[in-house]
Symmetry: C2
Subunit: 212 residues, 2 copies
């Protein structure tokens, strides 16, 4: 099937949303935890977390336009300057997904979805106790994307909590063994199978591969 | 294990790169195809493709700073205004990974890595013939990220080619059946198992879930 731009535009909005949300490929499933100055916590599932750099350790995520969604996560990050990102595991995937329900500001998704808060002594935002890979960030910059009024929120990693440290041969985290999850489209959750860890491409392994 | 910001900074650069590239969770494996005005094609694997919006259909990816990497993809996109994004499948994952080797400008990664070019009549950039889910984009905007000199490249989806259309119950693409791949860290490739497609959260299914 080939769709040109007119045919893409002619899809009904629901079809287009599901298709365009799928064609970028797998997306990471993460819960973002935040808190306001009154101590009211908030938790929301995001599939748009993206690595921006390791030195300094910068991570971004994309927020939908104001008006489309309650802005508790955005307001809390702007108010307190900190937030957490927590991997989602199969045991609480459905609870994580329910966090996208539009709860009132005075209802914490932690309580409503049955997840536990965890705090570090000197970091204000709540972590998800059930998550085995999680980190706290200081908010650094908000970049408006003028084409559709979304925004890229950038944070610097300040605290990392690893309850398990499964490693791939090159020293990364093994996301199969960590039981981290991904999302496609809006509502589909996946687990992973590591198929291979390749060598960093070099003239030597390129020649070896191509001669096979 | 808990690492604070001093301890994160004290990791050697290789450890920090592998860790920070892993903690964002799974990343989609995509090949970006481009061409210059002389007809020289280019192909490079990227793990930073991110959905920005469905109406209009906007997709971003993050490019490392000038100087860190050859800028063939960047130069071609700026010169021609178009590029393609192609899902990676297990049959050519190692070839896709090798595309990150620093080939000379006059060497096409298509030829060097043994992948085939595919063109649409009215779209200049090359698709990867072996990929079953792929799309062509018109370049829209380059957003500099000043903290680390990376840039977010934004394109609007113009052409979609789906050789297979496996669907999840909600109408998205089933990335297990499409055999699309993901990446963690720098060199590890994963396939996916769909664990569930949940309903869109509503007051009704929230009550039903919480009463179970």
């Amino acid at each position: 099937m080939h769709l040109n731009s007119e045919q893409i535009q002619a899809l009904n909005l629901k079809q287009r949303i599901h298709l365009i949300n799928s064609i970028t490929g797998i997306k990471p499933a993460n819960l973002i935890g935040s808190i306001d100055s009154q101590g009211q916590t908030n938790l929301a599932v995001f599939s748009s977390v993206v690595h921006l750099g390791s030195d300094p350790a910068l991570v971004g995520f994309v927020l939908r336009p104001p008006g489309h969604v309650p802005r508790h996560t955005y307001d809390n990050i702007k108010e307190m300057g900190s937030y957490t990102i927590n991997h989602v595991h199969p045991e609480f995937a459905q609870q994580a997904h329910l966090s996208s329900y539009k709860f009132d500001k005075n209802e914490s998704e932690f309580t409503q979805c049955g997840l536990q808060e965890e705090f570090l002594p000197d970091f204000p935002a709540p972590f998800v106790k059930e998550s085995n890979i999680k980190y706290g960030l200081h908010f650094v910059e908000e970049i408006p994307i003028k084409q559709n009024n979304t925004r890229l929120m950038i944070g610097e990693v300040q605290e990392i909590i690893l309850n398990i440290i499964p490693q791939t041969p090159d020293g990364g985290l093994d996301l199969e063994l960590s039981k981290s999850l991904g999302i496609s489209g809006l509502n589909s959750y996946y687990k992973f199978n590591l198929i291979d860890t390749y060598e960093q491409p070099s003239a030597e392994n390129l020649t070896r591969f191509l001669s096979n």
